[in-house]
Each structure stands twice: as structure tokens, then as C-alpha cells.
């Protein structure tokens, strides 16, 4: 076993690794070859009720090679670094199996760079004892609340150091940290079980998970209140989405449609998603931006070495851009956006979102409530998923709106609709943008990828709300 990873230090260029890579890439008959090396470590802490269910640490190292020959890819992932040239040869052999029409990737300038995150309080360096003490305190608050039967806490922090190099001369060393916490309170009465939760995260800054004692109590009270809350009567309503849920909507309902790998080989879908088409009112702007500092979906170079940039997906209601890898950009005659990402070395990069959000407009929450005779106010989320055209997402918290005022708490609701009509039906966008850093995104078996999403409050007319 080659102990090469002991040499990876993201502090400058490592001669040994660079030479090894240069040697492996030399003299192959391929259109393009890239190599990733990666070393990561993670800490997981999980509670189930009062029991600390898991506390574990993990170290992971490996790499992959991706090769392009005649428009087709070969990919080899590995744990051991011996025989690197043979692995390159295998990737080439795989790629040659297909032989499609030749493909030029979108040209990017070769980059040599090192990126190290600057954190005030790096979660991965905080002692286990401190983490456990903090989580204990949240758990105790939830469990000592009335009617709370159990709880769930899932904490994870991770640090990933990677080296990217390609046959065009790029060599990039990057380190990235990530932090994720989910708190759930489970209430029970007779045969009725209800839950409420909170999900958040950060770029590895530990302060994001500190000081949540009040919220922990609030979750527990809400879970208990849900036991006696009524179910919404299913049907079409005017709904107001809070910033967290509207952010999920931006990500699920529209963001995935903007990922060009769904579109670039599908002519019918290209007509649906033709740039310049009107998708919503003048007030609607949707953006994906990995360059915003210090969010979970922030990074300087994607996993193809492309420098990142801000992309307007929708500007003033008009479809303006989409997210690309070098391949999809070249195929569609557009520019690479730096959105090719892989969850780890076991997977090739695919087109993913970063920080996706709806830009704020001018409406206040009160103005939105103002003229709703009967509607639903939906907050937070259990999750969301999409099949491009149709989306479904579920709210962890919901209230009836009657005559312009918030009324009774409802059981969790599920919202669904057609993306295109729903975007047109957004008739008010608030002035209170918030970014949500909880959860993670899954696509093509790669989950959870750190992303963030956000929005101000938004109001949607004629939205289908599911219930019994």
C-alpha cells in the first residue's frame, strides 16, 4: 500500500504528487484525462431519544481517473495508488468501448492554485467532548418537554482535501469543510405520533450549531401541538411560503430543471427550456452563485477545475441561463459555469447546484397576508423532490390563513404542482431574503451534496395542498 496520502498537505504544491500525476498522464492517446486524489475525515454523532446511538470517526482516502475518447467517458475509482498508469489505461479502454462523435470540452484556462478555507472556529478541530456536551443540552431540552416521547439528533462534520489535475496542465489543491445538524422532537399521545424538526448547517464554522437552546424547546412544543392539530382539507389554496420552504422550492422546482445534463441531449426539453422564454413576472429573479463567501454551497473551482461564477437562471421573469459542466456547455454552445461537482472520489462530477436563491423584492409579510380570504402559510421542510416538470415538497409546519390573519396550526402538509404554472402563479415576493443551510442535495446516487438555498417569503396562487 502506497502511503502517498501522508504527503497531501494543502499548504502548497507537493512535488511528489505532482510528479506522480504528470507521469501518469503522459503519452496517452486521449482527448482529455483528469485525476482526483482525495483525503477526508468525518465525525458523526447520532442520538435516538436519550440514548447516544452513534459516535464515530472516519477516514477515507482514494482517487479517480476520468478519460475522454471520441465523446465517451471512462472512469476508474480506487483506494490504492499503485499502478496509476494502468488505471489510466483502463479508463481509456472503457472510453473506447463507445466511440461516439468526437467532443471538444468547453475551453478553460489551465489553473494552478491552492484554496484553503479560513474559519474562525473549525468544527472539525473542536474536541468531541464539547460537541457532545452541546448536543446533550439540546436533547435534554427536547426530552423534558411535555408529551415528547423521543428525539433524534444527527450531527456531522467533515473535512475534505483534494487534488485535481488534468492533461491540460491544471493542478488545484482545495480543502473544504462542512457541518450539518438536524434536531427532531417526536411527540406521542395514544396511537398518534407527530414530529417537528430543525435542520441547519455551515461551511464548517462551529458557531452555526451553538446557541440553539430556544429553538430546541420550540421544536418540542410544536411537535406536541401537532398531536391535536387538524389535517388540512385537501385542495387548491393561495399559499405563502416562508424563506426556508421557498428556498427549497427554488432548488427543487426550478433549480434541477436548470441543470443542463437533464436538457442537453433532449431536444424536446430544450424547447421547453429555451433561453429568453418567459417563466414568471418581472419581480422573479432566480440565481445560482457558488462565489458567495462562506455558505455550504460555496467553492472557488468545481471538480473539473472550472472557476465559479454567479449565474442568473431567471432574470426579471425571463429564462437567462443554466448550470453547466464543460461537456454540457460545449454541447449547447454556452459557457461553463463551474457547476460540475462530485460528492467524493467514487463518483464522476455531474452538473449540480451550489447556492440557489430567489432575489428579494418589496412585499412585506403583512401585505402578502392582507387580501387572502382562505389560504395556507407553510414553513420549513421535511424534504422535496422533483421529476423536472412536477415537484412535491412538504412543509414541517403549516397554518391556515383566514381573512388576512394566521389561524390554527395544521398537521404537516404536502404541496405539489407543475413548475411552469406555479412560477407564473407567484404573485408576491418579499423583502426578507434568508439562506437555508440545512439538508443536502441528492442526484444520480450522489447524496448528500452540500448546497444552500434561499428566498424571501413568496406567495403562490392556486397551489395544490394535499391532506385527508
Amino acid at each position: 500500500m502506497t502511503a502517498l496520502f501522508a504527503f497531501i498537505r494543502v499548504k502548497g504544491y507537493n512535488r511528489g504528487v505532482r510528479d506522480l500525476i504528470a507521469d501518469a498522464l503522459k503519452g496517452h492517446d486521449a482527448d482529455y484525462i483528469e485525476i482526483h486524489f482525495e483525503e477526508s475525515q468525518a465525525t458523526n454523532i447520532a442520538y435516538r431519544g436519550e440514548r447516544l446511538e452513534e459516535i464515530s470517526r472516519a477516514r477515507n482516502s482514494g482517487g479517480n481517473i476520468r478519460a475522454l475518447v471520441q465523446g465517451s467517458w471512462g472512469f476508474v475509482s480506487f483506494n490504492r495508488l499503485d499502478g496509476l498508469r494502468d488505471k489510466v489505461a483502463l479508463a481509456l479502454e472503457e472510453a473506447r468501448l463507445a466511440g461516439r462523435e468526437s467532443l471538444k470540452l468547453f475551453p478553460t484556462e489551465p489553473v494552478v492554485d491552492t484554496v484553503i478555507p479560513q474559519l474562525e472556529q473549525d468544527a472539525t478541530a473542536i474536541p468531541l467532548a464539547t460537541k457532545k456536551e452541546l448536543l446533550d443540552s439540546y436533547n435534554n431540552i427536547m426530552l423534558s418537554s411535555p408529551k415528547i416521547q423521543s428525539s433524534r439528533i444527527n450531527y456531522r462534520d467533515a473535512r475534505r482535501q483534494s487534488i485535481f489535475a488534468n492533461s491540460e496542465g491544471s493542478y488545484i489543491e482545495q480543502a473544504k469543510t462542512d457541518l450539518n445538524l438536524r434536531l427532531t422532537a417526536i411527540a406521542r399521545e395514544d396511537n398518534e405520533v407527530q414530529q417537528a424538526g430543525l435542520s441547519l448547517g455551515s461551511n464548517g464554522e462551529f458557531s452555526a450549531v451553538e446557541g440553539l437552546h430556544e429553538q430546541a424547546g420550540e421544536i418540542a412544543r410544536r411537535a406536541a401541538a401537532l398531536l391535536s392539530a387538524p389535517q388540512v382539507k385537501g385542495g387548491e389554496y393561495t399559499v405563502i411560503l416562508n424563506p426556508v420552504l421557498a428556498g427549497v422550492f427554488a432548488h427543487e422546482a426550478f433549480g434541477h430543471l436548470s441543470e443542463s445534463d437533464f436538457v442537453y441531449q433532449n431536444e424536446n426539453l430544450q424547447q421547453v427550456m429555451v433561453l429568453g422564454k418567459k417563466f414568471g413576472g418581472k419581480h422573479l429573479n432566480i440565481i445560482d452563485d457558488p462565489t458567495i463567501p462562506n455558505l455550504r454551497g460555496s467553492y472557488k473551482y468545481d471538480d473539473e477545475g472550472t472557476p465559479t461564477r454567479k449565474t442568473y437562471l431567471i432574470r426579471e421573469g425571463i429564462l437567462e441561463g443554466r448550470l453547466h459542466s464543460r461537456e454540457t456547455a460545449a454541447k449547447m454552445g454556452e459557457k461553463a459555469t463551474g457547476n460540475a461537482r462530485a460528492i467524493n472520489y467514487l463518483f464522476p462530477p455531474i452538473v449540480r447546484m451550489s447556492n440557489t436563491f430567489i432575489e428579494p423584492d418589496s412585499a412585506s409579510f403583512e401585505e402578502m397576508l392582507g387580501d387572502i380570504e382562505e389560504g395556507v402559510y407553510v414553513k420549513d421542510w421535511y424534504g422535496g423532490t422533483t421529476s423536472l416538470e412536477m415537484f412535491t415538497f412538504s412543509a414541517g409546519e403549516a397554518y391556515m390563513i383566514r381573512r388576512g390573519r394566521l389561524a390554527e396550526l395544521l398537521r404537516p402538509v404536502v404541496l405539489t404542482g407543475n413548475v411552469f404554472t406555479t412560477l407564473q402563479n407567484i404573485d408576491a415576493i418579499g423583502n426578507d431574503l434568508e439562506m437555508n443551510q440545512g439538508g443536502g442535495c441528492g442526484k444520480g446516487g450522489q447524496s448528500p451534496l452540500p448546497v444552500s438555498n434561499g428566498s424571501p417569503h413568496i406567495r403562490i396562487r392556486h397551489c395544490v395542498v394535499g391532506g385527508r
Partner: protein
């Protein structure tokens, strides 16, 4: 094994679990071969009891092995109390999970199978775009612990999956299915026939209004909508903490009398089969529901010890992580009604194949629901077309308490569930514009 020896120096008990695997997925995108991959990985997990507490660490690749013992010791300071013993030496019964042919199949042959499948589907619907994955894999698992327990097995895997998308203006139709086994098969007929049936049924669109309707869940629909809340409730952990609605229902009639459900890790060539689980406990066939009566829950070593019972051989490590109770292969017993007879029995209702967002509701409480991604309307005993903009919502404990029928045509879905179609009464259906 070196790791075990050094762990034993600092711990009362220790267990090492090692998996190495090699998989070759071949991916077609939009009807064309897109990417061929070879994925090699190996991981080592160490679990120790130190000063009466559990420590756990994993490592993969070259970097982590020497740090494994230190990391496990570090976590053991905060770990939960060690309340069980690692199983000592035992004879594991053999389970058939290796097909030597899998390793021999050339990548070229796999490419051929993918092409054949796509050609067959396009023969039915020329403008469909298919993503197909043909995957073969092999893995070796090795477990050893300080109490003398030791086991080893190899496994092979072969899988075929297809997702098709048909776009007309802004109308999108998704069809698809998959098949997997430890055994190689180049038979694409069953998979192709099912997908072509979906395309045929979805040719026309049908309107449905908001009301309570009977629903036939196809095997794919059972897996998509009903499986998750059920599996969650049988998890020994949910039972132990009192969060499972089934916690005090052992021996009670909770489901329809026609319904029997069991977990079976001994099925020949099942992708969830093995001679022992990820903690070295021997595999078995475990009845969960017998004629509607709840008979067992799923346990790993630790949860079983806390609950005062025995592990059921369901200790699984998802992604090489910390063991917890999980299913191997679930089997829902077949019934006596043909699918055709169920359809003919319906005056008005739905057939549900796939639900999107089904895992978002209050699963623990048994709720299921979401957008019907693929489903058909039945009127007067005939399938009249595909429904859109439609949501269903229900609760498994209400829906499975009294079934209108259980189908004869049981089949495997995704390699982990064998189920017939289920004919349920009165499920909430919500649709736009009504």
C-alpha cells in the same frame, strides 16, 4: 489480523469488519453509451468495548488504518455502554450468492445488453429517451472478533435498470423499472415488457377529481409508496423507544388477515442474502406479519440487548457505518386475485406505479403520500389513461387493515422486496382544478 490484535491491547472486546468490492457500471444516457466505470473500494470498520463503552471508527484507502485504533479509543470515551457480547465461533449455513459467470462477463457483452434493451423500447416508442444502467459487481466480506467469531463470504451482483422519458411540449412522462440479482441474466424480456406496458397505459391522459378512491398499488407502487413507513415501524430501535405505532402490538391483529410479510436473508441469489449479518449473527427467515398478526421486529445485537431479546440477524452497516437494524429481503405473500380481476372490479379508481415525495410525510406515524409520478385511471373496469397533477395521501395502518384484494402476480422490485399488487379501498386523491 493486525488491527484486531492492536485493538485487543487497549480494549476488552473488539470486532473488525472488512469489505472490498469492485463494480462495473455501464451507463447509457439519452439512448447512447455515455460512460463505463470501474469502481474499486475497500473499507475497514473497528468496533471496540473499552472501559465498558463502545467506540467506533472506519477507514478506507491507505491513509486511515494506523489511525483506526486511536479513533475508536477516542470515541469510546463518549460511546454508549457495551451491553452485549460479540458472537463467538459458529457454523454458518451456506447461502447461494455467488454466480461465477458474473466475473466473466465482458464489458462488451454488457454494452450489447444495454443496446438491445434500448432498441426494444424504441421499437415501441421511437422518440423516447432512455437512460440505462447495466452493472456487474463482486465483493468480499470478512468479519472477525475477539470472542472467536469469524466469517467470510463472497458475493456477486448483476443489475439492469431503465428510466425512460418522453417529452411533448411541457408534458413529461417518466417510465422505468429495474431488475437485480446475484446471478447474471441476459434476459431483457420481463423488464422491457413492463416498461412497454407502462408506455401503452400512459398513451392517453385521463381526468380524476378530488375524492376518496380505491387504489391498486402495483409491485413498483408498493415499493414506492408503502414500503418505507412499514419498514420503519418494524425497526427494533423504533419499537424500543416507543416511537413505532406497533410497539405494543406484538401478537395482535393489525393488518388484513390475508397479509403475511417476512424478512429473509437466506433466499438463493437474493441481493439482500448472506450467511451472516454485518455483526456475525447467522441469517434466517423472520416472519414479521403472519395472517395480519404482528409476529417479530428487526434487531441488531445492541438493540436486542437493550430490549431484552436476541438479535434477529438484521444488524446492517449502511455504507460501512455503525450497525443498526435493517431489512435483508422483504417478502409480502401473494394472494388469490389476478391483476386483471382487480381492475375489472373497479368502478372508478387509480392504479399507482410510482409516487414522488412519498418519503416526506410523517413516516413514523405510517403516513404515505405524494405526487403520482406514474399512475393510471380506471373507469368501469378498464384502464382509460394516465393521471397527472394528482396527489394521494393515506396511512398504511388504515389502508392495510382491510384490503380489497391481494394479487397473484408477485415479483421482485429493486432486488429487496418481493410483492404482489395490493388493492386498497378509499385513499384520499387530490387533484388540481376541482
Amino acid at each position: 489480523m493486525e488491527v484486531l490484535r492492536s485493538a485487543q491491547k487497549v480494549a476488552e472486546q473488539a470486532e473488525v469488519f472488512l469489505v472490498s468490492s469492485r463494480a462495473v457500471p455501464i451507463q447509457f444516457e439519452a439512448n447512447e453509451l455515455k460512460q463505463v466505470q470501474t469502481k474499486e473500494s475497500s473499507s475497514t470498520a473497528l468496533r471496540i468495548f473499552r472501559e465498558g463503552r463502545i467506540g467506533f471508527a472506519t477507514a478506507s484507502g491507505g491513509g486511515g488504518l494506523e489511525a483506526l485504533v486511536d479513533m475508536a479509543v477516542e470515541t469510546s470515551q463518549f460511546g454508549s455502554p457495551a451491553n452485549f457480547q460479540f458472537p463467538s465461533s459458529q457454523d454458518y449455513s451456506e447461502v447461494c450468492i455467488v454466480d461465477p459467470e458474473v466475473e466473466e462477463i465482458a464489458m462488451e457483452r454488457m454494452v450489447e445488453i444495454g443496446k438491445e434493451l434500448i432498441a426494444r423500447i424504441r421499437g415501441h416508442t421511437p422518440d423516447i429517451l432512455c437512460d440505462v444502467q447495466v452493472t456487474k459487481g463482486t465483493s468480499s466480506t470478512f468479519l472477525i472478533n475477539s470472542q472467536g467469531g469469524e466469517g467470510r463470504y463472497d458475493r456477486s451482483f448483476f443489475g439492469l435498470s431503465l428510466e425512460g422519458i418522453l417529452v411533448r411540449d411541457t408534458d413529461m412522462l417518466f417510465v422505468g423499472d429495474s431488475a437485480s440479482s446475484c446471478r447474471f441474466s441476459d434476459n431483457i424480456d420481463d423488464l422491457a415488457d413492463r416498461v412497454m406496458w407502462q408506455l401503452e397505459m400512459a398513451k392517453k391522459k385521463a381526468a380524476v377529481s378530488t375524492k376518496l378512491l380505491p387504489i391498486i398499488f402495483t409491485p413498483y407502487g408498493v415499493a414506492s409508496a408503502l414500503l418505507s413507513p412499514l419498514v420503519l415501524a418494524f425497526n427494533g430501535k423504533a419499537v424500543l423507544e416507543g416511537a413505532s405505532p406497533l410497539k405494543d402490538k406484538l401478537g395482535e391483529q393489525v393488518f388484513d388477515k390475508k397479509l403475511s410479510l417476512w424478512d429473509d436473508a437466506t433466499i438463493a441469489y437474493g441481493v439482500g442474502s448472506h450467511p451472516f449479518d454485518d455483526e456475525g449473527v447467522h441469517s434466517q427467515r423472520l416472519p414479521l406479519v403472519t395472517n395480519g398478526v404482528v409476529t417479530n421486529f428487526l434487531y441488531d445485537l445492541q438493540t436486542a440487548a437493550l430490549a431484552g431479546t436476541q438479535s434477529t440477524g438484521n444488524g446492517k452497516r449502511v455504507g460501512g457505518g455503525f450497525p443498526g437494524p435493517a431489512i435483508s429481503s422483504l417478502i409480502l405473500s401473494g394472494g388469490d386475485v389476478s391483476f386483471q380481476a382487480m381492475v375489472e372490479d373497479m368502478k372508478e379508481g387509480l392504479i399507482v406505479e410510482q409516487v414522488m415525495g412519498a418519503e416526506q410525510g410523517n413516516l413514523l406515524g405510517g403516513d404515505f403520500g405524494g405526487n403520482v409520478l406514474l399512475g393510471y385511471k380506471v373507469e368501469n373496469g378498464e384502464i382509460v389513461g394516465r393521471v397527472k397533477d394528482t396527489m394521494i395521501a393515506g396511512n398504511v395502518y388504515q389502508v392495510l387493515k382491510e384490503l380489497l384484494g391481494i394479487g397473484q402476480e408477485a415479483r421482485w422490485v429493486g432486488g429487496i422486496l418481493q410483492t404482489p399488487p395490493l388493492y386498497c379501498s378509499r385513499v384520499s386523491v387530490v387533484t388540481k382544478g376541482s
